[in-house]
């Protein structure tokens, strides 16, 4: 489903280009879950941004459902994100001016894929029933992250890209959120690519890879 071939990405510095990713080859099958581990600054988030079509590589190809992202213009990449991908960020990035229910259904409505039954189900599974009319600032950190996960899953994406989804939570809350995330991933038969630096978070996933100095190595959770 997702295929990265010889992908490289660099950033300009006064000392010349700094390669954060170099010769990355990666494959993710439908329904599969993969943890991407690495130190801070190892290029994990950059790889996630490239996979989401938020950024473009200097070299190499990224295919999603056999379509090369390099062949898509910005609106087409946005369309792909809207319909096929779900994104979960460490900082949640909820819309502070929208109530819980509107945040939850935001991407689904953007993709014109709103399904009231699925929305109800998500609300219940995420433990947000009864909180629909609250605003994000009125929720706890765990509730906010659960809402962010729900927003990403609401349009039933093929692939969920999660960037340190529990980085802002304490251990207990993180465990609860992760358990829920895995259950919902299975329910919706969605693939998962999760960036984390925590072995505990990576452990339940099908596979684990480690980024080291811009290159991928087989990893152990």
């Amino acid at each position: 489903m997702l295929q990265l071939t010889d992908v490289a990405k660099s950033y300009p510095t006064p000392q010349g280009p700094l390669f954060v990713l170099d010769g990355i080859d990666l494959h993710l099958a439908p329904g599969e879950s993969l943890a991407l581990m690495g130190e801070s600054g190892s290029g994990k988030s950059t790889l996630l941004h490239l996979a989401a079509g938020l950024d473009v590589p200097d070299r190499g190809e990224i295919h999603f459902h056999e379509r090369a992202l390099s062949a898509l213009d910005e609106p087409a990449r946005a369309d792909l994100r809207r319909r096929h991908l779900g994104l979960v960020f460490q900082q949640f990035h909820l819309v502070p001016s929208l109530a819980v229910i509107d945040n939850l259904t935001l991407q689904a409505r953007l993709a014109d894929r709103e399904d009231p039954d699925w929305t109800d189900h998500l609300l219940e599974r995420l433990g947000l029933t009864g909180l629909e009319q609250r605003y994000p600032e009125q929720l706890s950190g765990g509730q906010q992250q659960r809402l962010a996960i729900g927003r990403a899953l609401a349009p039933r994406p093929d692939l969920l890209l999660a960037d340190e989804p529990t980085g802002n939570l304490d251990e207990a809350a993180a465990d609860r959120v992760l358990a829920l995330l895995h259950e919902l991933i299975h329910e919706s038969r969605c693939a998962l690519l999760m960036v984390t630096h925590s072995a505990r978070v990576a452990a339940p996933l099908d596979r684990c890879l480690r980024l080291h100095y811009g290159r991928l190595e087989p990893g152990e959770p």
């Binding site: 938020l54 946005a78 792909l80 994100r81 502070p96 001016s97 509107d102 935001l106």
Partner: protein, 836 residues
């Protein structure tokens, strides 16, 4: 937006727009600030446009009236025409038509209400080119017009009042008539006005007429009421309206910038969730359009209400300054409404286009980072400072050119003023940032001081726009106040110089000489100052044109020579008076400026009898408030050469013990006994004249002062709304300081000092700008617009007032946010601290 069933299908743009707009639901203050900015900008602009549109409508109706399309025939001595004269002219084959014009006070009018203008016409002889003649052209209406009970046509604004007057014939509303005008059959008009014959005769401009010597023909083009000067007055109003619009748009720009900066995270999230950049720009554009339409509606409505309030003063100004009659009811054409919406939407687009452009260009990954946003803003500030510098150079260059060439072109003057205002405004952020850096260097050992100045640098992107608005408002306030204050001083001084006589009399022509002889024998009278008026045509060989010019005859008595203002050094004045006595003339500044004449140049005048007179100019004199070019010569010469009819008599009393009032009353009592009450009633006390002139002056600048004050108020609002809108962010910045041990009292003090200090820095830049504006108004724009030049007066107190106003405006704006911070419970500050 909330609700779970059924599924909503609003499309990407719809959902994006609804999500963007939801920001205002959580931040209603920002929405209020945006709409307030649009409302005040639109209201001030629309009010001026409504006034101008009403004035144009009145001018158009006045021009359409037959009077301004027909030549006029009057007696040279100013006495009324007799029916016999009219009959004699008709017998000689001249196509003249009689006309009665006078003022009529309607029955039931309130005290002090202005009388209406009543015209009586003879439709049978009125030249067919007149629009009025066409209206009475069909047989039925002509019969109604000529036979009792006759008909009366009334302008729409006075039709209802006319219907209530039992003396008047049945009333028909005529939208084509100028305001406050009634037209009826000549016989009816004579009866209503108590006249025995026509007041004047009219004739088609192309009709030939061999007039006897006692009569003169005044061409139609000399009678047109709204001239170039009235146009200039409207141009000045438009400029003030434009300034208010710009200041209002600063609020809009500040609010939009703030709303966008606070939604950067949201924009990033939307992009990440799959909203294309172009869709985001379209949605933001739709948001602007929605806000613009609501703001335009509010603004135009406010403008119409404001115009209703201001129109009576403007109408009075135009009537007293230019003899142009403007209705006191608004007459707004369709293009006023459409133009209002267009200019407000255009202004909003200009304020929002830059922001949309930046959103479109920013990288999706950098979009949410305020740092990246601010880094780009830093570059923008530098470009702004360069552009500002270039505009200041342009203004200085234009100023130098106008100064050196002595050319007073209105457009060049406005371009210079606009370039200077805009240039200094664009330069303001660089000036403030530089001042803060210098202040930080001086006080770097004091931690709170250093923090406060560093914090101000961070606030600059948000503070710059309201400070720009404040700069414009302060500079305009200083410039306009200096101009009006200087004008008032000069005008009052000039009145003292021109109104030398204690009493002015306007006797009937047949009693003029007898009255003059009687007054000369009275013991109270020291000097008599007779004056006469006549009309001539100025032949301008250079421009190959002819234009009407007023002739004014004076008696150059010692008292008049000592006080009459002349634009000459004191040492040259005696020589100028001797030259006047020897056959030369004085001309007013309006004539000198319009026809580029200087002392030593010559004028060629054609009198009413057709003879040409070549006259040398001895001196130029100021003549404030007079829109017409004027030539002054001794009254004896004016009577002899230009057949001027008898005019007024000025009486200067001797210095004597006792009250001036009592001596004046004694003289008027004896005068009434000798010449009858009518002659005595024509006497006008000098003090009453001065009071009247001063009242006209004050009214003339009423609208200028009103718009000036409103602009300053708008700037204060801009500052207040910006502070309120960013109060939440400010608390998050202040909370860590509080946590570090700075008391709330000190924090409030620091905040107020930051703001008043910034306002003071802005005012320091406003001072030279305001003075430059005052110079431009006095030396360039007034000369071009009104025809006279004023000396530039500087008022040190006014400079202090400007500084004080800046501090006051900033202090008032800071008060509410400071009070809120003061009242904030520590628990909330703790939350802000935890959030940071």
């Amino acid at each position: 937006m909330s609700g779970r069933r059924p599924a909503r299908r609003a499309g990407v743009v719809g959902v994006t727009l609804a999500t963007l707009l939801s920001h205002y639901r959580r931040h209603p203050g920002q929405l209020a600030m945006l709409l307030l900015g649009l409302w005040v900008a639109g209201a001030l602009w629309s009010s001026v446009q409504a006034i101008n549109a009403t004035a144009r409508d009145s001018y158009a109706r006045a021009e359409a009236l037959f009077e301004t399309r027909l030549d006029r025939i009057e007696r040279r001595d100013g006495t009324p025409l007799s029916p016999a004269t009219y009959a004699a002219l008709r017998r000689d084959g001249m196509a003249v038509s009689p006309l009665v014009a006078g003022e009529l006070t309607l029955a039931g009018s309130a005290a002090g209400e202005a009388p209406l203008r009543l015209l009586g016409i003879d439709p049978l002889t009125l030249p067919g080119t007149s629009p009025l003649a066409r209206r009475t052209g069909d047989a039925a209406s002509l019969r109604d017009w000529l036979l009792p009970p006759h008909r009366l046509r009334a302008a729409p604004d006075v039709a209802d009042a006319a219907r209530r007057d039992p003396r008047l014939p049945p009333v028909e509303v005529d939208p084509g008539l100028p305001p406050a005008t009634l037209v009826t059959d000549i016989g009816v008009a004579q009866r209503l006005l108590g006249l025995a014959g026509p007041t004047r005769l009219v004739i088609a401009p192309e009709a030939p007429a061999e007039l006897p010597d006692a009569l003169m023909r005044i061409p139609a083009r000399q009678l047109a009421s709204p001239g170039q000067l009235a146009d200039s007055f409207h141009l000045n109003l438009t400029a003030m309206g434009l300034l208010a619009l710009v200041v209002g748009l600063f609020i809009v720009h500040a609010a939009l910038g703030l709303a966008l900066e606070q939604r950067l995270g949201l924009l990033r999230t939307l992009r990440a969730l799959g909203v294309p950049g172009r869709t985001l720009v379209v949605a933001l554009g739709l948001e602007l359009l929605t806000l613009g339409l609501v703001g335009a509606g509010l603004g135009i409505l406010g403008g119409v209400l404001l115009a209703r309030l201001l129109l009576p003063d403007v109408a009075a100004s135009l009537a007293s300054l230019y003899d142009s009659h403007v209705g006191t009811r608004l007459a707004l054409p369709w293009h006023f409404w459409l133009g209002g919406v267009a200019i407000i939407l255009g202004g909003l687009a200009s304020a929002g286009a830059g922001l949309l452009w930046r959103v479109a260009r920013l990288d999706v990954l950098a979009l949410g980072h305020a740092q990246a946003w601010r880094a780009r803003l830093g570059g923008l500030l530098r470009r702004q400072a360069w552009a500002g510098g270039a505009l200041i150079m342009l203004a200085a260059g234009l100023g130098g050119w106008l100064w050196l060439t002595g050319d007073r072109q209105l457009v060049a003057g406005f371009v210079m003023v606009t370039a200077a205002l805009l240039g200094v405004t664009l330069w303001l952020p660089a000036w403030l940032a530089g001042s803060w850096r210098l202040a930080a260097r001086l006080g770097r050992r004091r931690a709170l001081w250093a923090w406060a100045l560093a914090d101000l640098q961070l606030q600059l992107p948000r503070l710059q726009l309201p400070m720009m608005a404040l700069l414009l408002a302060l500079a305009t306030n200083l410039g306009v106040s200096s101009m009006v204050g200087g004008f008032r001083l000069t005008f009052l001084d000039w009145l003292d110089q021109r109104l030398l006589a204690d009493l002015y009399l306007h006797p009937e022509a047949e009693r003029h000489d007898a009255l003059q002889a009687w007054l000369a024998d009275q013991p109270e009278v020291a000097t008599l100052l007779p004056a006469r008026h006549a009309e001539a045509t100025l032949l301008d060989a250079a421009a190959q044109s002819a234009a009407p010019v007023a002739l004014f005859g004076i008696r150059p008595a010692a008292v008049l020579r000592a006080h009459w203002p002349l634009r000459l050094p004191a040492a040259e004045r005696d020589a100028a008076w001797q030259a006047l006595a020897a056959g030369e003339v004085f001309v007013n500044e309006q004539l000198a400026n319009r026809y580029r004449r200087r002392p030593g140049d010559t004028l060629t005048l054609r009198g009413a009898d057709g003879r040409r007179h070549r006259l040398s100019i001895a001196a130029i004199y100021p003549d404030y408030g007079n829109p017409r070019p004027e030539v002054v010569m001794p009254v004896a010469r004016l009577t002899r050469v230009f057949a001027a009819p008898p005019g007024s008599l000025g009486v200067v009393l001797r210095d004597a013990p006792g009250s001036r009032r009592q001596r004046l009353d004694a003289l008027v009592t004896r005068l009434a006994a000798r010449f009858g009450p009518a002659t005595a009633e024509s006497a006008i006390d000098q003090q009453a004249l001065k009071a009247d002139a001063t009242r006209v002056f004050e009214r003339t600048f009423a609208i200028t002062r009103a718009l000036d004050a409103l602009t300053l108020g708008v700037a204060a609002l801009a500052l207040l709304t910006t502070l309120l809108a960013q109060a939440g962010t400010r608390r998050a910045q202040l909370a860590p300081l509080w946590a570090l041990g700075v008391s709330r009292r000190r924090l409030v003090g620091v905040q107020c000092l930051q703001l008043t200090g910034t306002a003071l820095g802005t005012a320091l830049l406003a001072l030279p700008l305001g003075l430059a504006l005052a110079w431009a108004l006095v030396a360039v724009i007034n000369v071009a617009a009104f025809g006279w030049r004023l000396p530039l007066h500087l008022f040190p107190l006014q400079l202090l007032v400007t500084l004080g106003l800046a501090v006051l405006v900033a202090g008032l704006a800071a008060l509410l946010p400071a009070w809120r911070l003061w009242r904030m419970p520590p628990r909330q500050l703790l939350q802000e601290f935890a959030a940071t």
